[in-house]
Symmetry: C2
Subunit: 139 residues, 2 copies
């Protein structure tokens, strides 16, 4: 099945991370412990996990923040892109790329979370989003 069940981000400080996701994005956790916070998303689960605990679970050491990947959160208009990016920066994010229009259309910018995990904030009129937040690819 073409399915991603969970995305987990390793973080350094739970309060700092929760401020960004709960107050910046406005998301409500479904379950929290001092070590891990889960958010129910659109057909998958998102979690923030203390980096040392993630390393132990993955059997890895010295994992660094950031990297060659990005998550995207799509919104309904150009203005909503700019407004959300400002809000994310207010609540601990850092600007990676100011929003502008890519060649393929729409509008997007990038903000890193307090641990350096990159988020694209985009308006993409070609990709419908249903009432449950499910996103469908389109051209």
């Amino acid at each position: 099945m073409q399915q991603i069940s969970l995305i987990t981000l390793g973080i350094g400080d739970m309060a700092r991370s929760t401020r960004f996701y709960a107050e910046g994005f406005g998301w409500t956790p479904v379950f929290e412990t001092p070590e891990i916070t889960f958010y129910q998303m659109n057909g998958l689960v998102f979690s923030t996990f203390l980096r040392a605990a993630l390393e132990e679970d993955m059997n890895q050491t010295g994992l660094r923040p950031g990297g060659a990947y990005a998550m995207a959160h799509n919104v309904g208009s150009e203005g909503a892109v700019t407004a959300l990016m400002e809000r994310l920066i207010t609540f601990g994010g850092s600007l990676l790329r100011a929003a502008d229009a890519p060649e393929h259309g729409g509008f997007r910018g990038y903000v890193a979370d307090p641990d350096g995990h990159p988020w694209e904030i985009a308006w993409n009129p070609a990709w419908p989003i249903d009432g449950a937040g499910h996103v469908t690819f389109g051209l």
Copy 2:
């Protein structure tokens, strides 16, 4: 809305990456160019994007593979975890952690894709998956 629209992984070689995702996971792309491949997933889109192009889009340079994050793909049984991990390794993945039972229950291991992006392959009986692949958090 609690919603992730897209996950993009930066990759070095499209053929090598597509072999892993199409033949290892068994996923069919919805759209392909020499630079980017999109897969329609469970309420979100997954893409593999040549690293240099992702860096340009993100306004970043020198992004490194791997990092303090993991995606998870859940399956229906312990045996399916082991079988899929073997298949992913056959098609270019590397073992990060052999599958075993975590304290909180279920069964899981980790495999990196050919570019070092970490995937957890898990059986988690507490998290229901519906016919469309939508995953719900559970305890």
